[in-house]
């Protein structure tokens, strides 16, 4: 792959990526969250089309017109969220789309040997081809996916974070399996955050950062430290406007919170006038923690205390009443009602100021929304415009405006700057500082380490469901945060 570019609207997800993978090697692709790894793999698999650049497979030009096309060329993807039909059997899943048939009738017996052979090769002959995938655990499901790739005679298998949802033992087995694939001459692109894993399984590696290839080399010759530095190294100069603020009383305290299944354990004290950041990998349980605090997910054990109140109610409605608000990481699916107007979205949680006996005074509602539009600099035609017509950054401001309009004291911000342009990011940072100065307590989950260190007063790292100790941001280095997040895998 050479000079591959991909643009999503105003966001340049990939800006000139070069990736060269030798036949029969295990090639690790590493980089921070949002570095462009997943986008790159989508380009390779034909799920999205690149805006620029070329790809070649075995010297022949390759431009997948779609996933089926890519598969025909021997490229198989194994995604984080597995692509299996849970109600079909193992065999049906493995052979999906390439069933042996005669006159449209599926010949099950004919296909059986191939499926069994693949499972045997993967050292999982214990999985019966007639089992329903629904009844298998995550590790076995992954094996089924890999078997599908094998039966399809894939020459290039891409694995995206294959061990992130596995237990230690299953992760071990998977690494052994990757080596067997290599012995068979299959080329593997292995995407992982866990560098120890990479050291053990990969031959060579490529580092992506901010949508660019920044380094490539032999794994054997590189120290984990060096790879981390290449991942973290700063490229964009970012400004973190500092608004002076001071920590006051405890606004939110968590005592050994656990959920189902994540987080496993989180203890934390958040003060008024404080910005506290939570770092960690995607899937470590940070989002789940915020949702449990806000009452969107059940708390299995532990206590959430808001101000002086202990568990006065744990539904989102009750939490909002206690002055706790959540900014969802997923603007489109959860954060905003896209079809509704800006004014409706801003005032949805708190229409009371404009409502008399349930009747909304649209004029006053729109006037209030206009005030927020002006204060946050939301670029739009007016409060009546549907949110779907705004850019990502402006949509995010609408979601933030809702929390401000509600007047919450504790703001839970989940990836508040994801997918918005740099200018909007800086505005979000400044706003967070101003809110802290006004005595609000802010809990931020972010996968972008410079942001955590630049914006927050204290930072804690969550690792596989366990929240570490919160320490002043000045005591952390970027490398420490990344190391802490990726520690001890496999």
């Amino acid at each position: 792959m050479r000079g591959v570019e991909k643009r999503y609207g105003a966001v340049l997800a990939l800006s000139g990526v070069d990736l060269e993978v030798q036949p029969g090697e295990v090639h690790a692709l590493v980089g921070e969250n949002g570095a462009g790894k997943s986008t790159l793999m989508k380009v390779l698999s034909g799920a999205v089309a690149p805006d620029a650049g070329t790809m070649e497979i075995d010297g022949a030009p390759f431009a997948a017109r779609g996933p089926i096309d890519a598969r025909a060329r021997g490229v198989a993807m194994i995604y984080q969220e597995l692509n299996l039909a849970p109600d079909l059997t193992v065999q049906q899943n493995v052979m999906l789309g390439r069933e042996a048939r005669r006159f449209g009738v599926v010949l099950r017996a004919r296909m059986r040997p191939a499926v069994e052979e693949a499972l045997r090769f993967l050292d999982r002959a214990d999985i019966a081809p007639t089992t329903r995938v629904r009844d298998l655990g995550p590790a076995a499901r992954q094996v089924v996916e890999i078997a599908r790739a094998l039966v399809g005679e894939a020459r290039l298998v891409v694995m995206d974070e294959p061990t992130s949802s596995l237990t230690q033992r299953d992760a071990e087995r998977l690494l052994a399996l990757v080596r067997r694939l290599r012995e068979r001459g299959v080329t593997v692109i292995y995407i992982s955050h866990f560098l120890e894993e990479v050291k053990r399984v990969a031959d060579r590696y490529t580092v992506l950062r901010d949508g660019r290839t920044v380094a490539t080399g032999d794994v054997g010759a590189a120290a984990v430290r060096a790879i981390v530095e290449q991942m973290v190294g700063r490229s964009v100069e970012e400004v973190f406007p500092r608004v002076p603020h001071e920590a006051g009383d405890v606004a939110l305290s968590l005592e050994a919170i656990s959920g189902t299944p994540l987080p496993r354990s989180a203890t934390l004290e958040l003060r008024r006038g404080e910005i506290l950041g939570i770092g960690g990998l995607v899937g470590a349980g940070r989002t789940e923690l915020l949702r449990a605090i806000f009452g969107l997910a059940p708390v299995r054990s532990g206590r959430v205390r808001v101000g002086a109140v202990v568990d006065a109610g744990t539904s989102p409605t009750a939490r909002l009443g206690q002055g706790v608000g959540l900014l969802s990481e997923d603007r489109k699916e959860e954060g905003l009602a896209l079809g509704m107007s800006i004014a409706d979205n801003i005032t949805l949680s708190h229409p009371r100021p404009f409502a008399r006996a349930g009747w909304i005074d649209r004029r006053r509602q729109h006037a209030a929304a206009s005030a927020w539009i002006e204060r946050l600099g939301i670029r739009c035609q007016g409060p009546g415009q549907p949110v779907s017509e705004l850019s990502g950054g402006n949509q995010q401001k609408v979601a933030v405006a809702r929390l401000l309009h509600h007047g919450v004291d504790v703001l839970l911000l989940d990836e508040p700057t994801r997918g918005i342009d740099v200018g909007s990011k800086v505005e979000v940072y400044r706003l967070a500082g101003e809110l802290a100065a006004a005595g609000k307590a802010i809990l931020i989950v972010s996968s972008y380490v410079p942001e955590l260190l630049g914006l927050c007063d204290r930072v804690a790292v969550m690792h596989r469901g366990v929240l570490g100790e919160a320490r002043p941001a000045a005591e952390w280095t970027e490398r420490e945060v990344v190391t802490e997040a990726s520690r001890g895998a496999a």
Partner: protein, 323 residues
């Protein structure tokens, strides 16, 4: 960001579309059957024929905006007509009989809403079940025959020559009009209406914003049931008997009216005004076809084509809005 003028025009078009369709059909029949079609008497007849579907469509608009569906409307109409007739037969005061009919509908609405929110069963399935249940109970109560009721002023509700004559059209038409205006305001201007839109537009967002999603849905189905009950009372008034086999498939007419009126079956959009235009459009079509001697089957084809056309126009509009 979409071009402002295009976006605004597209939004206007969503109400304009069904309205233009209505005008087109009216002009067509005025041309085909001059005099007879446009007579005051015939217009009053069409309005009266609109009442039952229109009442159902008011409730259905709320349900569809909230992202749900209610298939039990036709059966509930029949059941409510039977209950009203039985109440009158048992010498109940007419007002009480009407209340009994509406309450029957409200009860089924509450059951629908309770099952949808309590068990989390898909509305399609829940109301498919209550559709059968309501029809069965109606037949049981009526002992599988029409229920005769003594003459009362209830029948006046749907009379084509209303008393006093200055009413011009049946009292049921005026009631429908008043209710439509009131509930258009409820949908557009109240917290409940906004929550209905929010639930249908994005349930996760609604939950995030502290909207009591379950309670909102329950109220929506309760409302739809009550309107089906009232439509059942009107059905009784029209037939002057309680008929357990009446209004079979009526729910589809009601849904069609709402969809023609610009609502999306995926929730989050729709207006009462649009639904009323949709209901009226279908009544005009039925009446005009009868007057001009167009066979019923042609009429069915036409209604089907209009539904598909309405949705197709809606899709095109959306695609343009997205771009």
């Amino acid at each position: 960001m979409a071009r402002p003028d295009a976006a605004r025009a597209a939004r206007l078009l969503s109400l304009l579309g069904p309205f233009l369709g209505l005008v087109l059909v009216v002009v067509l029949f005025a041309f085909l059957a001059p005099g007879r079609f446009l007579s005051a008497y015939n217009l009053a007849t069409i309005l009266t024929q609109t009442v039952i579907v229109a009442l159902g469509a008011i409730g259905m608009t709320f349900v569809i905006v909230s992202g749900g569906i209610d298939l039990s409307v036709g059966s509930v109409v029949a059941l409510a007509s039977v209950v009203t007739a039985i109440a009158l037969r048992e010498q109940a005061h007419p007002a009480l009989a009407i209340a009994a009919g509406v309450a029957t509908g409200a009860l089924f609405g509450a059951v629908n809403g309770g099952l949808v929110t309590g068990l989390g069963v898909a509305p399609f399935v829940v109301t498919l079940g209550t559709m059968g249940i309501a029809r069965g109970i109606a037949k049981y109560l009526a002992e599988e025959q029409k229920v005769d009721a003594p003459a009362s002023w209830v029948a006046e509700l749907m009379s084509k020559s209303p008393e006093p004559s200055w009413l011009l059209v049946a009292p049921g038409v005026w009631m429908t009009l008043v209710l439509a205006v009131f509930f258009a305001l409820v949908l557009g201007r109240t917290v409940f209406g906004t929550h209905t839109f929010a639930v249908g537009s994005n349930e996760a967002t609604a939950r995030l914003c502290g909207v009591r999603v379950g309670r909102t849905k329950l109220l929506v189905y309760l409302l739809a049931g009550s309107f089906a009950g009232l439509a059942g009372v009107m059905q009784f008034a029209r037939l002057t008997v309680g008929d357990p086999t009446t209004a079979i498939g009526k729910e589809l007419d009601v849904i069609a009216a709402v969809v023609i009126g610009g609502a999306s079956l995926s929730g989050g959009s729709g207006t009462i005004l649009g639904s009323m235009i949709g209901a009226f459009l279908m009544a005009v079509l039925a009446n005009g076809c009868t007057l001009t001697g167009v066979p019923t089957y042609v009429q069915e084809i036409l209604v089907g084509a209009i539904i598909v056309a309405a949705v197709a126009v809606d899709r095109l509009r959306r695609r343009r809005a997205v771009r």
